[in-house]
Symmetry: C2
């Protein structure tokens, strides 16, 4: 199985990066058990999270990443509105496979305002995941690019993230370099 | 040179962690060039950043950490108010040596709101620095404790930070464990 991405990629919104929505087609070329090619066409939409994405498998996708129990509609809406009120300071990117109406990749970035670096801003990327059935199509790279572009567009001097050693090579391909180590203290 | 910290440490505010202010005395026992002990008494105040801290060496302290040019009063106030409007979601801790009215340690924490972990929250600690002339008095530990306590008090399930390999042992003494690696992409 291998994939080929169309050149006619995007009509990006003119309203600024944080409102950017773009589509791109993708043709997954598979063979059936007799070796006959079966073309599987996809249309992907890269955009910000919408409240209706809960019914498109957004929470189930996060469950592939870490602990994430079912979230009630009420709690989902409350958190969604809370994040939306932060505007450009907290953006969640999703990729929807519009062929089947399913969210298949996501990641978030929030903007930290500092005094250092001349009152600079840093983007923190978190919770990046691509659906296990949709890997190998560079969707993770699309998500990262969307998030990094957003951070840059709002004036960040850098964007950072933490990852396992296993995923280091992937992030290097996306233009990241290892810098420090991450330390954690759990309360529960 | 060695230091001794008094037992009568703190009267913590009853108004909640994020408003906590406490004092503790510290006796730095030094010897002069003839070996005669010279006791140097300090009174430290651990609290949230105030706008007047700019005139107490707060920016100069940050300059020991990373690039941080002089900040105009106007820009400082604008950033200060912007951060204050975030309330408990962004807290900067400082330690003032009230004997000389100087800020000698700082660190910040901001609260990220997630969908994972049942709409959980994670605290991100950034920009921790102790004045080079005030090291060895466990002030860094006090700052971290203030920030981690704050994160826990607002319901975070964890607090994280990035550091160099050199500083790993210090953070381990503060109850942190290494988990992942930090990746960065600079825009400037």
């Amino acid at each position: 199985m291998f994939g080929k991405q169309s050149g006619a990629e995007a009509v990006k919104s003119q309203r600024g990066r944080s409102n950017a929505v773009y589509f791109f087609p993708y043709e997954k070329i598979m063979t059936n058990w007799t070796g006959v090619p079966l073309n599987e066409a996809h249309n992907f939409q890269v955009r910000k999270l919408e409240i209706s994405d809960k019914s498109k498998g957004f929470v189930e996708l996060l469950q592939q990443l870490t602990v994430c129990d079912a979230i009630s509609d009420e709690n989902f809406e409350a958190r969604f509105q809370e994040l939306r009120s932060l505007g450009d300071d907290h953006v969640i990117c999703v990729i929807e496979d519009t062929t089947c109406g399913k969210i298949i990749a996501t990641g978030s970035v929030f903007i930290e305002k500092k005094f250092v670096r001349n009152c600079g801003k840093a983007g923190h990327i978190e919770d990046v995941v691509v659906d296990r059935d949709s890997r190998g199509m560079q969707l993770g790279k699309k998500v990262l690019s969307f998030l990094a572009d957003h951070a840059q567009s709002v004036g960040c001097y850098k964007v950072i993230l933490d990852c396992s050693n296993e995923n280091k090579a992937f992030y290097e391909k996306c233009g990241f370099k290892q810098k420090e180590i991450q330390m954690v203290k759990y309360f529960i």
